[in-house]
């Protein structure tokens, strides 16, 4: 086997030095009746060239070359090539959690830089080293708010990503933590502030909203914060489209931000691996889950970085830990760090502006087609919008696919009240021509009826 660095003679030599007759001696503690005396029934050993052939063949069954208007929690942005050049350096790729600070300063400093940029972008004081993804990060943020407030109820906007809400339901099921929903305004798609005001009580630990929300609409964070804070509840803002922070005001009134950082240079990869992150106001630091890198000095006074505040974590606190999380998404966080460095201060703004412009043009163009209209009006959007068509999406989706276009995500599955509505996303990689082709197909489909 080509990954195994031993000759048969070396194996024999090692066995005899150990004093074993055969390798079976080393497995003698496994009761004989359970030992597997046959080959595993899995495919035979493949050559590297066969592995490449296999995966290329299978990948073709996933279509390629499609222009996509899909967003809804996973966003297609341009990925600068140096991201993959750098993260494939073995020193990053094949190291592990920086427990031994002296020989992991590279990872630790990069995490410190990540934490700094995420805190700055989200308008929070501190950010952790990453969570599994945005959905688990949002759920962990709610649990964090429960620990901070000592209260045991949560309020969630129905415009939080439906799958995030499902994850939250799973996480809170056995925590004695009832979660109630607050609906959206049918005109603007923003959370219904009156309903929110009525729902928040002095037993509410946290209000969780998403902004831009699942319909792409930017919430009125100051107004929501006021309602939550008036009753002593924390405000948690989830962000699924991190690129929005280049041009959208950060949710500085929030207490905790739970963000999915996939948009920052992470391949869309059929849903993962992505990179969640929790950022918060400093006073909640000790209730934050996940790893943190901190600055310190070494014995000669030189600056260095270490994992810190580990007394919150499971390997010290066991069942009293802030979370059971151990492994996080360090390499993906490194991708995000490199992405943010490549675009930098000016680039993040320009990138976000391109998204704003493309989505604005796409929304105007598509909604101008016969039988099509924008569902929501009156509140600002970033790069997603909800389109309603007279015909159900099943009708025009195949026609769009024939034109090499993946259209919007049908919303009926989660929001039956929205009928034929679909959620469209236009990032900087979508071209004007693609938008116009999509408009033509929808228009032609409508004319067929």
């Amino acid at each position: 086997m080509r990954y195994l660095p031993k000759s048969p003679a070396e194996r024999q030599k090692m066995l005899s030095e150990i004093g074993a007759q055969s390798i079976d001696d080393l497995f003698a503690t496994i009761p004989a009746e359970y030992r597997l005396e046959r080959d595993l029934r899995i495919p035979r050993q493949l050559a590297e060239s066969e592995i490449l052939d296999y995966f290329h063949r299978v990948a073709r069954r996933n279509s390629v070359g499609y222009h996509s208007f899909l967003g809804a929690g996973a966003y297609r942005h341009y990925r600068p090539v140096i991201i993959d050049s750098l993260v494939q350096r073995g020193e990053f790729l094949t190291s592990y959690t920086p427990y031994q600070a002296e020989i992991t300063q590279g990872t630790l400093q990069a995490i410190f830089e990540f934490q700094t940029m995420i805190a700055e972008l989200t308008g929070m004081d501190v950010a952790n080293a990453s969570m599994y993804d945005g959905s688990t990060g949002a759920a962990e943020a709610v649990m964090m708010a429960v620990r901070v407030t000592g209260r045991h109820k949560a309020i969630v906007a129905t415009t939080v990503h439906p799958e995030y809400r499902e994850v939250l339901a799973t996480y809170t099921k056995y925590q004695g933590l009832p979660v109630s929903l607050v609906a959206y305004d049918r005109q603007t798609a923003r959370i219904d502030l009156k309903a929110l005001d009525a729902a928040v009580t002095d037993e509410t630990a946290a209000v969780l909203v998403q902004s831009p929300n699942f319909f792409g609409v930017i919430e009125d964070i100051p107004a929501i914060a006021q309602i939550a804070h008036a009753k002593g509840a924390l405000l948690i803002v989830a962000i699924t489209e991190a690129v929005s922070l280049g041009i959208v005001r950060p949710p500085v009134e929030a207490d905790i931000v739970a963000m999915e950082a996939q948009s920052f240079g992470v391949a869309i990869s059929y849903g993962g691996p992505y990179c969640g992150v929790i950022a918060a106001k400093e006073q909640y630091l000790r209730q934050m889950p996940g790893r943190l890198a901190g600055q310190t000095v070494d014995r000669d006074g030189y600056r260095g970085f270490v994992l810190t505040l580990a007394t919150r974590e499971q390997h010290i606190r066991r069942e009293k830990a802030t979370s059971n999380i151990c492994t996080n998404q360090a390499l993906v966080a490194l991708m995000a760090t490199i992405f943010l460095t490549v675009y930098g201060k000016e680039g993040m703004r320009e990138l976000a502006l391109h998204n704003l412009a493309k989505a604005d043009y796409a929304a105007r163009t598509l909604s101008a087609q016969p039988g099509a209209r924008l569902v929501f009006n009156g509140a600002p959007r970033f790069n997603e919008f909800v389109l309603h068509t007279d015909e159900p999406p099943d009708f025009w989706t195949p026609r769009l696919l024939d034109a090499n276009i993946a259209g919007g995500v049908p919303l009926r599955r989660w929001y039956p009240e929205l009928g034929n509505a679909t959620l469209w996303c236009a990032t900087e990689v979508v071209t004007r021509a693609q938008i116009e082709i999509a408009a033509k197909v929808i228009s032609a489909a409508s004319a067929e009826v």
């Binding site: 086997m1 031993k6 030095e17 080393l26 497995f27 595993l40 029934r41 899995i42 495919p43 299978v58 990948a59 069954r61 996933n62 390629v64 996973a74 297609r76 350096r89 073995g90 990053f92 094949t94 592990y96 002296e102 020989i103 300063q105 410190f112 599994y132 945005g134 688990t136 799958e163 995030y164 994850v167 799973t170 099921k173 922070l245 041009i247 959208v248 869309i268 993962g272 000095v297 600056r303 810190t308 505040l309 390997h315 979370s323 151990c326 492994t327 998404q329 360090a330 993906v332 943010l340 460095t341 490549v342 675009y343 930098g344 000016e346 320009e350 391109h354 600002p380 959007r381 696919l401």
Partner: protein
């Protein structure tokens, strides 16, 4: 330069040994300290749609500035991260015997196939007809993992080992509830990883500690006394964190099952078992795997991982949604209509990029390669044990599988602790073993070489450990002040925790 710490004052600081402390590769500043306005590493294509006025579109939601994000050119970014990378130790540089983490070779073909456009660019909400390839990978990996574990059903959704534990205990709880009583406690041996009790607590169970027997294993009599009608499960790592196979495993399962409790297996140490024995055959009801340990997906400085959960058929109805289904015509889709499901533990379907890598590893090995891998992992650990047991105390004399745990008892008598020996190993060019874990061993040295080490590398490691043992006797201060060869040494963790500095801030001007 905004900081007053020493390494940003690269005045000529030439040491007696001629090492120039101010060497630029040793003093890479933070991105923010290197930034200067007007530098760029990007270029947007021309905007092909009408420009928009953000203030008009966004109103009060419009952002003024992205603050301190750095402004640098591409070459500076390459150098920055390349220099940082050289401050890391990695498997690619040498042996990384971090016990219970299974730091094995990460094959490069895995990285290549995970980046094939058909997978890397696949949106999770694309129509099923356009995602059959990703689903085929998921299906084949599921099949392979079920065969390897001997279990009946599986979910790949959990994002890491601890997330898998959470999912597995949720399945356990859902099943007990379906039997009329969720039960109250989860039993956890005192040798377990901290994620186990943290997981049980997250699932609403109280944790009951199970004291290890004199040989470090499960004490069957104590177990029989502690298991009752309120015990939901035992969370057992097998081989244990001592690297010992629970040879009474079938009796453990019988004791649990006789009271209606389940046997959960933490699969962290599966690298000792693949191809040799299957948990499903020895009584395990539910378990998780760590694809980043056993199946070679890269650890990446702390993640991403992937923690599939495999279970017996009676737990299948409770698996997280969605579940992959294959129709008779060969097409696949996701089934969300599962009324007994515990729900979702993560958005979308899991860390698909890791599934591709793990499957590439399994295919590169085949049945013979996987078996040989396990045998070599166990051979390596036993070789180290044999070559070091005269100098380092073996707290338990039970046979080792894929890892060996020593204690620092003899060295501690001379004032040198496991943490010091670990730091000194760095000077010899190795990543340290896992320090002070498992907690049932005072001053533990937990060594897991994995199968990826050649005889030559093992002999170098053994020579280093033997040399350190001699140093402990002859020049203990040398060990207690290690490492001596690194850029920074013995960082002040107390200061880091007392006054946390968790982000850079510009110096007040």
């Amino acid at each position: 330069m905004a900081s007053d710490t020493k390494n940003l004052n690269p005045a000529s600081d030439c040491r007696a040994n001629g090492k120039v402390r101010s060497h630029q590769t040793q003093n890479e500043a933070l991105l923010f300290e290197k930034s200067s306005p007007g530098k760029r590493a990007y270029k947007m294509p021309p905007l092909d749609v009408p420009e928009v006025d953000p203030a008009a579109l966004l109103g009060e939601a419009c952002r003024e500035s992205t603050g301190l994000l750095p402004e640098l050119s591409e070459i500076e970014i390459i150098r920055h991260f390349t220099r940082l990378s050289t401050w890391n130790y990695a498997i690619d540089l040498g042996m990384y015997p971090l016990g219970s983490c299974t730091m094995k070779y990460n094959p490069r073909v895995n990285e290549v196939v995970a980046r094939i456009a058909g997978f890397a660019e696949a949106h999770p909400y694309r129509p099923n007809s356009h995602a059959q390839g990703a689903m085929e990978i998921i299906e084949l990996l599921q099949k392979c993992l079920l065969e390897i574990t001997g279990m009946d059903a599986i979910t790949l959704q959990p994002a890491a080992g601890a997330h898998g534990e959470f999912t597995g205990i949720l399945l356990t709880r859902a099943w007990h509830e379906s039997q009329g009583n969720p039960r109250r406690t989860v039993l956890i041996p005192d040798s377990a990883h901290g994620t186990n009790p943290a997981t049980a607590a997250t699932c609403g169970y109280s944790v009951e500690n199970l004291k290890s027997s004199a040989d470090g294993g499960i004490d069957l009599e104590a177990l029989a006394r502690q298991v009752n009608e309120e015990t939901a499960a035992l969370m057992l790592t097998n081989p244990s964190t001592l690297g010992v196979f629970e040879s009474q495993i079938h009796k453990i399962a019988d004791i649990l099952h006789s009271k209606g409790a389940l046997l959960y297996m933490d699969g962290a140490n599966m690298n000792a078992l693949v191809g040799k024995v299957r948990p499903g055959d020895f009584g395990v009801d539910v378990m998780h795997l760590n694809l980043h340990k056993t199946f070679s997906t890269p650890h990446g400085g702390g993640g991403p991982g992937s923690g599939p959960v495999a279970c017996k058929a009676f737990l299948e109805p409770f698996l997280p949604i969605p579940v992959l289904v294959r129709e008779e015509d060969g097409t696949r889709h996701w089934n969300y209509d599962r009324p007994h499901s515990v729900g979702r533990v993560r958005a979308f379907y899991g860390n698909t990029g890791m599934f591709i890598r793990a499957l590439a590893y399994i295919l590169a090995n085949g049945p013979d390669g996987l078996r040989q891998t396990t045998e070599d992992a166990v051979l390596n650990a036993n070789y180290i044990r044999k070559k070091l047991e005269d100098l380092y105390e073996l707290p338990y004399n039970t046979p080792s599988m894929h890892e060996v745990v020593f204690s620092d008892k003899r060295q501690a008598a001379m004032g040198v602790k496991t943490g010091d020996i670990a730091k000194r190993l760095i000077d010899y060019g190795f990543h340290p073993y896992t320090v002070s874990f498992p907690m049932i061993v005072s001053g533990a040295l937990m060594i897991e070489p994995t199968e990826s080490e050649s005889l030559e590398e093992l002999d170098l490691f053994i020579a280093a450990m033997r040399s350190i043992a001699r140093e402990v006797e002859e020049t203990p201060e040398l060990v207690k002040t290690a490492p001596h060869s690194t850029r920074v040494s013995r960082l002040d963790e107390v200061q880091a925790a007392r006054k946390p500095i968790l982000r850079w801030k510009p110096a007040a001007s």
